[in-house]
């Protein structure tokens, strides 16, 4: 089953795979950022695997790590009914190659990751905020972003005492 995926990826991209994790019968490949596009293309177009459906792209923040973000890709093969997960580690000021050239559906997912974590995607057609307002400062799903604090939006009618009287 998924072992075929494991075998094929290990055969072809042995240098680019940093780790393979199996948990609850789900395979996660932690891969090098540079090999992302190639591996995605391979998984999508290989006639035996056909991971042609991009379920989800999401980010996870680990502030204590050297490369603090993880970008996670959940792929699905409609023909084989298998799932596989790819992961890359990204530092705060690094950018990730966009996979919109492979799956058009990645567009909004990547925008959401950018909006929520501030991870930049290279060659993305329209990398703007998607859920938060355009002028929002900060990235809400980062662990250091407070849950309840809210900026004061309107300050022009705040009452301030005059500096000098008379």
């Amino acid at each position: 089953m998924e072992n075929l995926t494991l075998k094929k990826i290990k055969e072809k991209f042995s240098d680019s795979i940093l780790d393979v994790i199996e948990f609850r019968e789900e395979f996660t490949f932690i891969i090098k950022k540079e090999a992302l596009l190639e591996i995605c293309k391979f998984l999508k177009n290989d006639p035996e695997l056909q991971y042609n459906f991009l379920s989800d792209v999401c980010g996870v923040d680990y502030p204590e790590r050297e490369k603090r973000f993880e970008v996670v890709y959940n792929l699905y093969s409609i023909r084989n009914r298998w799932r596989v997960r790819l992961k890359i580690n990204v530092g705060e000021n690094e950018s990730v190659p966009s996979i919109t050239s492979i799956w058009e559906g990645a567009n909004w997912h990547e925008r959401e990751v950018f909006d929520m974590f501030g991870v930049k995607f290279e060659n993305h057609p329209d990398l703007t905020r998607i859920l938060m307002p355009d002028d929002w400062v900060g990235h809400p799903l980062r662990k250091d972003f407070p849950l309840t604090k809210e900026e004061v939006t309107f300050t022009h009618n705040q009452h301030r005492p005059p500096k000098r009287i008379g």
Binding site: F23, E26, F53, L54, D56, N74, G105, L131, M132, L141
Partner: protein, 407 residues
Amino acid sequence: MDKDIKIMEKEILEEKGKLSTKTMIVNMGPQHPATHGVLRVMLELDGETIVKATPVIGYLHTGIEKTMESKTYSQVIPLTDRMDYVANLSNNLGYCLAVEKLLDIKAPLKAQYIRVLLTELTRIASHLMWVGTHAHDIGVATMFIYAFRERETLLDIFELVSGQRMMTSYFRIGGVAKDIPESFEQEIRKVIKIFPKKIDDYETLLTNNRLWLQRTVGVGKISAEDAINCGLSGPIIRGSGVNWDLRKSNPYSSYDKFDFEIPTGKNGDIYDRFLVRVAEMRQSLRIVEQVLDGMPEGDFIARVPGVTLPPKDEVLSSMEALIFHFKIVVEGFCPPKGEVYQSIESPKGEIGFYIVSDGSSKPYRVKVRPPCFVNLSALNKLVKGRMVADVVAVIGSIDIVLGEIDR
């Protein structure tokens, strides 16, 4: 004289060359009745033809994913209700299954059957909501009243079983919140007895209706390859002829025990999506009937010490049960470190939950894969080159719920 006319003609032609046409941007929404919530679509128009449609979302963003990180695993369930508020039981199920996978536990058979039963009723309720509002948008206002009348009978069932019409939060990690009441089966049988006739009525009203056909056939087309490439799921992708339904392909919650078909379309237009959804309602009724016939006896929630609440009579008589009850309510439970992705077929498509656990009692990260979010992202593809009025029809046919898109 002739010479003058010729010069004039030449001048006019030269003028014409300098005349330029500009496209116009029209904002549809965020306050627009046909956008089914607060969706704004920026339409770039050339006359009445759409050059580009850009959906602008986020008006309903409430930070549900961020809030989930500060709740214990059980406290997250009510939040999932508030995403797709038309099909909340499906959301509950997706989340509960994901946490169960993380914990490596399984709900008892009876709970699985109840879950299937209620999610199928939810599917019908959601499709009724869709057919009512969608038809209302296109111009068949009668349909709205019919669909909402029937939907009310289903909401009564949800109220009977969970105490709430909409925000049910009935499913629990490991099973369901409480046993089904005695009158449950009888009430559902009453409803599903009248339903096939009601669906026939809808079809009489719409399927061969000339107005309906004119507005839907050939509009909002998308091919199977494009649909897969864009990540569409649910009735949209099946309308394009892709036979893919997670209930069949990756069965969860004993869906493999029931006999049902997956309706698919051919052309991938609005009309085929309509046919697919109507056929799905009939299939759901079939499943509901099979569940009622085969409803097993037994527990309604798994007995996993430290994870599921012990029965109340035990709490009152046994020390250990009392301690467990207290600890689960106050602290929650701690699943092992790891991450899982679990998805189910919600009425709108594939809803997935990706949960990262760091071994504490609160999820480190919950990512929801909302079907409407991905389906809406293909809006430009569906409406490009069509008329403004078609946007309304296409948005209706995607069946979006903004609560889920914005989270």
